[in-house]
Amino acid sequence: MNKGIITVVGKDTVGIIAKVCTYLAENQINILDISQTIVQDYFNMMMIVDLSSTDINVTEIIDHLDSIGKELGVRIQLQRDEIFDSMHRI
């Protein structure tokens, strides 16, 4: 499976998850898992998403999520999951 990790870091505001999820749904990106935590007073959310059904190029999704983040005043990042797997799993 072609998986990605979306992270949202910043000050919590209304509608962050809604906005991200709407964009993902419109583009056939399935959410596999969502979790969130507070680190150093910052809202941290993580979504594991399946990128195998979408027609859009990963770099375009990265740019789009980045612009949603800028609108909301938070940092939204999509990364391919292999970077986390290689660092944290033997």
Partner: protein
Amino acid sequence: MININEVVETNQMILEDNLDVRTITMGISLLDCASTDLKTFNQKIYDKITKSAENLVKVGEDISKEYGIPIVNKRISVTPIALAAASTGATDYVSIAKAMDRAAKEVGVNFIGGYSALVHKGTTPSDQILIDSIPEALSVTDNVCSSINVGSTKTGINMDAVRDIGQMIKKTAYLTRDRDSIGCAKFVVFCNAPDDNPFMAGAFHGVSEADKIINVGVSGPGVVNKALEACQGTDFEHLCETIKKTAFKITRVGQLVAKEASRRLDVPFGIIDLSLAPTPAVGDSIAEILEAMGLEYVGAPGTTAALAMLNDQVKKGGAMASSYVGGLSGAFIPVSEDQGMIKAVNKGALTIEKLEAMTCVCSVGLDMIAIPGDTKASTISGIIADEMAIGMINQKTTAVRIIPVEGKKVGDMVEFGGLLGYAPVMPVNNFSCEAFINRKGRIPAPIHSFKN
């Protein structure tokens, strides 16, 4: 499945602790570009370099974006030009350096290495032409890097070349005097130079390598430094375990990037270079790691032991994280590229002699050290000979990248810009070694028994 704490940890390393992949370096063989005509040779190498590396920068940028990890440099290394160009019969190789420079600019890489010669046993006419042309080549090009291997454990040290290089470095400094003698920052002299080093200025594509190869240099002093913050007052076992685990994580990212770059470029993966490479950025410093271990300033007694331990743990952690390890694989201690080193020099804690001692325990060499412009050529050759002897006897790679900055005195500041940073001019021991350096011939290969 990956959990949120692991994701946060990785992203903090990248965003706050300067974790990056320092370089993806594509090695390209130029042996098949041989020609009896210099113009044809230049065209052939330009064509081969630009065709082989046409997607290198794009692929590096894509990987960087998709994984969210900065890849600082995309670079090229080529077959030592003294070998590749020997058949041209030319008497001057500067036009080759210009062709390399044009090719580097065309594909968008920031350095191209391999304006090099391997003279550890003897010097061919082609090697001599190359050495003589280095000052001009480095003054008329922007992105070309040059290196000469003058010694090895198996052959000894070519002292004729060491003598020539002392004078050649002075000439390079003079020709680039309007830019703080920056030409010397693009030249390095080696003992036991590796064929697969991805780091500049010493990268070249060795003759034992395949036609093309991808080598990757990892980095991450900031990450190690951060991890050590949690080790205040702990014992050595805990300290070493922390460094090892951190090195493992850093190197795994390098391995991922290397494999992915290799797949996308359809060029075989060569090696990961397990080097902690600092940058002038605050917090991205080897000196600060040593200080976090408990030294007031780098250079204080205990520095050599701390560096030896750091290097060994980085290798132990990194070796398991990568399928192939090679290159230089040792912590770099460049003065100008490391805030902590600069600070220690300014405090009077760090001298060239201490840096030399540090290179005995597997850092790579005397790197990016600015010295007074009026230092004699024979003194520079003496410094080089000392460093080469350390490499030869200890069966390790050692290197010297030293800049006798034209018109500058001890204590002056020199600004190289960008990744090359800035450096205070350091004092050298000026007692003469002229009669020693002026002897002809080689230092014989050392005996490998009776180790003491």
